[in-house]
Structures are given as C-alpha cells and as structure tokens.
C-alpha cells in the first residue's frame, strides 16, 4: 500500500534555479574556505574570526532578499507563493540546537560544507556526510516512536 502523498511536480525551470542557486552557495562555501573543517574550528577556538564575516555577509544579503521579495511581489518570479520559514523556540529546537553545536564543535563540519566539500575532492568529508545522514535517519525514526500520528 502506498500512502505517499503525490509530490507537486517541480517544473524544469524551478529545478534549474535550484541547481544554479546551489552552485552559487557551494562556490561561496568553497571560496570562504568553510568547506575546510580546520577553518571552522579555528573560528570556534577564537583564532580566526572569518566565519563571522561569512555569516554576517550571508545574513545581510539573505535578509535583503527574504524581506524585500514578498513586499515587492505577491508571488515568486516563477509563479509560486513565497514559503515562510517555520520556527518555534520549543524543547525540540532547544535540544536540537544544543546537540547540533556539540557535533559541529567536534567535527567542524555542518550540512552545507559536508556536501559542498565533495566538490573539492575532500573524500574524508564522506565520513561527516555519512554521520549527518545517519543522524537525520535516527531523528526521524525516533520522532515516529514519540509521535506516531505525526
């Protein structure tokens, strides 16, 4: 029995934008050396404050886009409604953020660089990628046990 809801098909134009935006994102991660765990860890150890500039620059431009776009237009350029970022400061988010930080401080790799880093031939990051994938699997598995109806 297949109870999977049929996903809304995304036209090729949307996927092309996703590919190009992803490429720009990955280029930024590589240029800013965020794909190198050592650079991330040196920020977390107060030796190089570069990550703050990456984050600051990223937030500044994202803020501009995410705030202006829905004010200027009712729908996205390709015709879909603008999604909103759902966020609540509940126990799951608190615990999740704390665990995420512990893991990030341990390995210096977060989801974006784990994926983008493969483009620089850094195969050791496959270990981090595997860890992240397994962590995401464990989280979803556990969520089902806690909330079977979810």
């Amino acid at each position: 029995m297949n109870t999977t809801p049929t996903p809304a098909a995304s036209p090729a134009s949307h996927l092309l934008v996703a590919l190009l935006a992803g490429a720009l994102f990955g280029f930024g991660l590589a240029l800013s050396t965020m794909v190198q765990p050592e650079v991330v860890l040196s920020f977390l150890r107060f030796q190089d404050f570069g990550l703050a500039l990456v984050m600051g620059g990223g937030v500044a431009v994202a803020l501009l886009g995410l705030q202006l776009a829905p004010r200027l237009r009712g729908r996205a350029l390709l015709g879909q409604p603008f999604q909103t970022h759902a966020a609540a400061w509940d126990r799951d988010t608190q615990l999740g953020a704390a665990l995420f930080g512990i893991g990030w401080g341990l390995c210096g790799v977060c989801p974006g660089p784990a994926i983008a880093g493969l483009g620089t031939g850094n195969w050791a990051l496959l270990w981090a990628l595997a860890g992240i994938a397994l962590g995401a699997l464990a989280q979803g598995w556990r969520a089902d046990r806690g909330h079977p109806a979810r």
């Binding site: 996703a18 500039l53 994202a62 886009g65 966020a87 790799v109 962590g135 995401a136 989280q139």
Partner: protein, 156 residues
C-alpha cells in the same frame, strides 16, 4: 586595531563567500519562493527509502527533488571554485575520522530535531527575522565554542 589579528588569513574571501551564500538563498527565494536551508535534504532524501510516516510527510516528499538538485548544485559550485581557484590538488582534512563520524551524527540529529542548521537557522532564519532562529544560533554557537575548546584542551 590590526585586522590581521582577527583574520590571520585575510578577510576578503570570507566576506565575498558570505555574500555569495546570501545571494544564493535570496535568488532561490525570489525565483521559486523556496527557503534554501541545507539540513532538510538529509530527511527528504531518506523519504525515498524509508516508508515511516515521519519521512513521508509532504514537507519532505514534496521537496525532495529540488533539495537533491540544490545539493548537487552545491557540489558543482564548489567544484568550479576548485577547478579555477584551487591549488590543483584535492583538499584534505586532519580531523580524525571518529570526530567526523560522531560529530556528523550529532550535527544531523540535532539539525533535524531543531529544524535547522547554520544555513537554515543562521542564514535563512535570521534573514527571515525569526527570533527562535536567533536563539537557536546563539545556542549552537555556545555549545560549539565549548566543545571545540574542550577538544583542543584534551588534545593539548
């Protein structure tokens, strides 16, 4: 004040890289209306293989195609940088495998439980002016600072 104290490797590449990342999120949103955090791709891709209800939620099954394409773009973009600006050899890391694997596991578990990572809460959440994302960023920055320094202290 001497800038090289804060940025011993220079600062321009950090700022320009950050601007690229922000522009990527902004452009994706402007054209498609999608919010391009990165950690969701892990849950949405599991939805192809795992039939449990959590993974079969529309927020995963309905976004898994574009999220995978977005992730492929990430590899592509980093590859372009490597081809044209890299030093000709593959990058490596000296971080031990156990740290990558266990750290990665906590990153994956925590990001999905907390519904966001450095890009989801950091870039997209702060860009959406969401207070919960600000608290999440402050929380993971704090635990990451503590962990990274603890690990450095243990190795020393």
């Amino acid at each position: 004040m001497d800038v090289s104290l804060l940025f011993p490797l220079g600062w321009q590449h950090y700022l320009i890289g950050g601007l690229c990342i922000g522009a990527a999120v902004a452009l994706l949103y402007l054209f498609t209306g999608w919010i391009g955090g990165m950690s969701s791709v892990f849950s949405s891709t599991w939805s192809y293989l795992v039939q449990r209800p959590y993974f079969q939620q529309p927020r995963y099954t309905g976004t898994r195609v574009w999220r995978l394409v977005y992730a492929a773009g990430l590899v592509l973009g980093a590859g372009v940088w490597w081809l044209f600006w890299g030093e000709g050899e593959a990058l490596t890391t000296g971080v031990p495998v156990w740290q990558l694997l266990i750290g990665g596991f906590l990153v994956g578990y925590g990001a999905r439980l907390g519904n966001g990572c450095t890009s989801g809460h950091g870039i997209c959440g702060l860009g959406s002016l969401k207070k919960p994302s600000l608290y999440a960023v402050l929380t993971f920055m704090a635990t990451a600072f503590i962990t990274a320094n603890l690990v450095a202290w243990v190795y020393a």
